[in-house]
Assembly symmetry: C2
Homo-oligomer: 614 residues x 2
């Protein structure tokens, strides 16, 4: 194992039409607005244990930690005195509420200290602890970061001393997984092997008999829904709460990597394959049911009303895919990551950066009731506001997905334009990628540092024809191992036609329909761009389609224009035997991730199509 | 008003391929098995107030009453000493638990007498009372029936004395409507005008301010969900719990009729029109959402997963439609009644008569999660077993829908074969209808009694061509007013081709799909009849279709056979850009109401179609 590492955040500066702008708006709007909301709602004052008398929630500390983690990344990307001061003051507040023994949770300490570790299955104590660890690792080099990390390590030590199979400890597992991957991060940041061992304990003890979560929480289904019904190594299918599932699998992948555990890695790969091949929307959204925010059965992927595809789950899938790619070097993981990133993740946040979907519907129509939210409109904040705070920490890191780095090899995973300084074993390589990826397949990679290393290029799963050249030299395999001259340019051209993606007929709602995709970007029809209701359109993907500029969206955003038939029923009755007539018209599709940035309107990803082959 | 009356139960004996057999199996299996279940579960012993110590439920008396009502009808159709003895013993048990003041409810008397009338919004007291009234009216002429009716009248008197706007009474309305229509029945059976006035009170006071149900039951939404948020005369759309809604509207129609209240009738007609034109499945199912068993917004009519279409609601719709037809003489009500009867009602019960759907899905596929029941398989009984007990009382009465009778006019509403003796103002007319309706449109009506009266024939909404003749005399209008000779035969021939019914595109899930219908019967594809999964079939309704004998179903049951394309994807991946190929094959569709009588299999009503017109 140990094939690749993702580069440090500071090493890659995106300059592309998607990631760069999103990172900018995250720093400008997402993080500040989440910080303001956290303060408004009492999440920060809650750390004043004696003086805060408002309502508290059991998972508030996780939101605060996730915003802090985002702040740390933002400060890494671009220094900002005010933000640095805020980071420092928040961490000081958190540290001030640490108990003498190291325990650190504002809710349990203030409200019910006697309930500490009493209910791990539903009360998010270890989940909050995990996010504190991630925040502390992210901010360890910032002013105030050291004290914060020290405090969090003391908390981690308390947890390590409390849970385990050894004498003097009790068995226990988090009801919401997260601490596993966080402990591995803490191990990597501190070198303290105890944290890795504790992560391995949480993973390997989970679901074994006697089942300590089942004993805690009587309601049937809970243990299944949190993936604690059986040992993780016996799992073959993804089930239960989707966010928890992918967090668990990420922790498993991390432990597998650090402990060279091929068996555990195999489990992760099998679980990932189940998601990818049977339980994932074409946008990379996962967890299709609004009931329990969960995976349901294979191919149960409805597009409206009851679907879920939580933003956090799509981000969690990217995190898992990135880990599995770095361990295995298999690009199919990057295919999924790229799909989720450009579609099901970014759909969850407005271009402005401070409006959020919890549920990422693939079809919205005035006549469909939305079971999750009532109204499919992005919101500024939620009662349970995990998604906005997840964006705070996810978006600044997006540039890290572009490359993976080995000892003497660089993998270009996603050829989005950027400038980078990548540290190989023996040298640092400066690279520049130019082009408009993902909106164009014509990529130029400028190698700015001379020296011997391998450049491995991912040919995306969606790509059916490509050309690779350095000067006049062409390559049949997408791997270039050579002694580079400074300034050499790699021309990597990926054909990027509009694809009409069909779906396995077992997803019954997608029968007779197709999703338009160009490169990794999935397109949707918004009603405001059409001459009639979206639901009346039958697209003709076998007729020529063209790329035009998307009206009202950022300059350079492509739209797909093509021919459609409008289905017109002469009678306006609910049921009729009079067949419709068809009128030729034009349709316009925009990138799905950008929908509902021009007001509220109906939208559909899986549109009806007319096949020339009928 | 007062256009028509439905004939008494004893006056019509069905001899057709659908109703007759269903009535027989109801008497043979449905009523006996429900009676056994009621006894097993404690519903009968519960009337032994002092000696029964098992669990009780607040609505149990309604189930017992509904089975009793069914028994009364069964005994009217065919004497049966054992059943008569059971009827008598149950009624005696019920009467024995009546309080001195007339109050009659086994739950409240045994468990919480102090809570009597305390919570009308959710505790079903007046609902149970209504079903006792209907049972008592149905059984009034049977042995033991008089004592039962007297007891129930004393209970009704107590209710009349308790609720009203007059001094000494309190205001109150049932959370589950039913007592309104029951009180009108009681009025008609006894001539006691007080009961009609009380029904009118419950209807007219409902939803007025101050809102007495809102004051009782704080949870938001409840008052809306039980149609008590505003005065009924201000209602223009059907909403809330579907069964309650159609029971309320039926009570409103009954009061409108008895009090010549044209305004109230208008409200009923408007509400019915909203259901018919925007909120009804092609099968006559209503209440499309499993959440709250309720109406949702117009055109929100999904076919799988989250749909509901409760059996009780379809029966309630028939009841309402029958009332509105009898008042107005408008056959559009009979169109809806006939649709619901032959499809969405009878789908709820197995041919054997003792397996029941609560939810009547229009699409079932292995890969779809069913949110209501988990498994879309008919059950013998339910925790809340309203549907089986509704069938007990609905099915024996189905023959009454065939005709409506005016002073000197007979309307043939549904020309199902039967023998009848119908009482007009001045004479009793014997009629016989022959034929295989609804499976054939060739109907013969033999007038067996000489005399002058009008025969009015409904030309069903689904029928586009018909011929009417008596001997050589043909009629251009479907009304024959003449002095009949005994033995004259009316030949009524309705063209009955296979129709591909299209749906308003606002029902987004039905786009590009059609439901096959022949006459009033909606057809479905069951997977066991096809050569491939139903979901892979694209029907070609513009190609010739033929009627064949349905395999494994009762002799004479037609199936539709036609051409389909099987859609075959070369790759077995979740998403692909490789288009499918199409192979010509044959499909077989059976009457929807008979699905899942040959084992568990996938099923679909709204199938994809290929239009010749593309």
């Amino acid at each position: 194992m140990h094939a690749y590492e993702s580069p440090e955040l500071s090493c890659v500066k995106p300059a592309d039409p998607v990631l760069a702008g999103r990172i900018e708006s995250c720093m400008k709007r997402t993080i500040p607005s989440a910080a303001a909301k956290a303060a408004e709602t009492g999440r920060i004052d809650a750390f004043d244990l004696e003086h805060y008398h408002g309502e508290r929630h059991i998972y508030w500390d996780s939101d605060t930690a996730k915003i802090l983690e985002g702040m740390a990344y933002a400060l890494t990307i671009k220094p900002d005195e005010k933000l640095a001061a805020l980071f420092r003051s928040w961490t000081e507040k958190i540290v001030s509420c640490q108990c003498a023994d190291g325990y650190l949770n504002s809710y349990f300490t203030a409200v019910c200290p006697q309930d500490r570790w009493k209910n791990l299955s539903t009360r998010h104590e270890l989940y909050c602890a995990g996010h504190l660890m991630e925040a502390a690792v992210a901010g360890k080099d910032l002013p105030g970061g050291k004290a914060f990390l020290d405090a969090v390590c003391r908390y981690a030590d308390l947890i390590c001393a409390a849970f385990g199979r050894e004498k003097g400890k009790r068995r226990g597992w988090p009801g919401h997984e997260e601490i596993e991957l966080a402990l591995v991060k803490l191990y990597r940041a501190t070198g303290n092997r105890r944290y890795l061992d504790q992560a391995a304990y949480f993973i390997d003890d989970r679901g074994t008999e006697p089942n300590v979560l089942a004993a805690e929480e009587p309601p049937a289904g809970t243990v299944f829904s949190v993936q604690a019904d059986k040992p993780v190594r016996e799992m073959t299918e993804a089930y239960g709460h989707a966010v928890r599932a992918v967090y668990l699998y990420t922790g498993m992948a991390d432990v597998a990597r650090e402990t060279d555990d091929g068996e555990l890695l195999n489990v992760c790969e099998k679980l990932f394959d189940n998601i990818r091949s049977r339980k994932m929307y074409v946008t990379g959204g996962i967890g299709s049911s609004f009931q329990g925010e969960r995976f349901t059965r294979d191919f149960d992927l409805s597009n409206g009303s009851l679907m879920y595809a939580e933003s956090c789950a799509a981000m969690g899938l990217c995190q898992l895919a990135s880990r599995l790619f770095n361990i295995t070097g298999k690009y199919l993981y990057m295919d999924v990551l790229e799909t989720a990133l450009y579609n099901g993740v970014l759909s969850g946040i407005s271009l402005a950066g401070d409006d959020f979907f919890y549920t990422n519907y693939l079809e919205v129509d005035d006549n469909l009731v939305c079971y999750n939210s009532g109204s499919p409109v992005r919101q500024k904040w939620f009662g349970c506001s995990c998604c906005p705070t997840s964006f705070c920490r996810f978006i600044p890191q997006m540039g890290r997905f572009v490359y993976s780095v080995g000892e003497d090899e660089i993998s270009v995973n996603i050829p989005a334009a950027n400038t980078a300084e990548l540290r190989l074993k023996d040298r640092t390589v400066k690279l520049k990628i130019e082009g408009n990826y993902p909106y164009s397949g014509n990529v130029r990679i400028v190698v700015e540092t001379a020296g011997a290393f391998t450049l491995r290029l991912r040919v995306p799963g969606w790509c059916r024809a490509w050309r690779l050249a350095v000067g006049n030299e062409t390559f049949a395999e997408p791997v270039i191992k050579r002694n580079w001259h400074a300034g050499e340019v790699v021309a990597f051209d990926l054909d990027m036609p509009v694809d009409a993606v069909c779906c396995d007929p077992r997803v019954t709602g997608n029968s007779g329909r197709a999703a338009l995709r160009r490169g990794p970007v999935v397109y949707a029809l918004e009603e405001i761009d059409q001459s009639c209701p979206v639901r009346e359109l039958v697209l003709c993907p076998d007729r020529p389609m063209s790329i035009v500029s998307a009206p009202g969206l950022p300059a350079g955003t492509p739209a797909i224009r093509g021919t459609a038939l409008r289905e017109i029923f002469p009678e306006k009755t609910l049921y009729t035997v009079t067949p419709p007539r068809y009128e030729e018209t034009v349709f316009t599709a925009i990138p799905y991730a950008l929908w509902q940035n021009r007001g509220k309107t109906n939208m559909c990803v899986w549109n009806r199509i007319l096949r020339a082959a009928y």
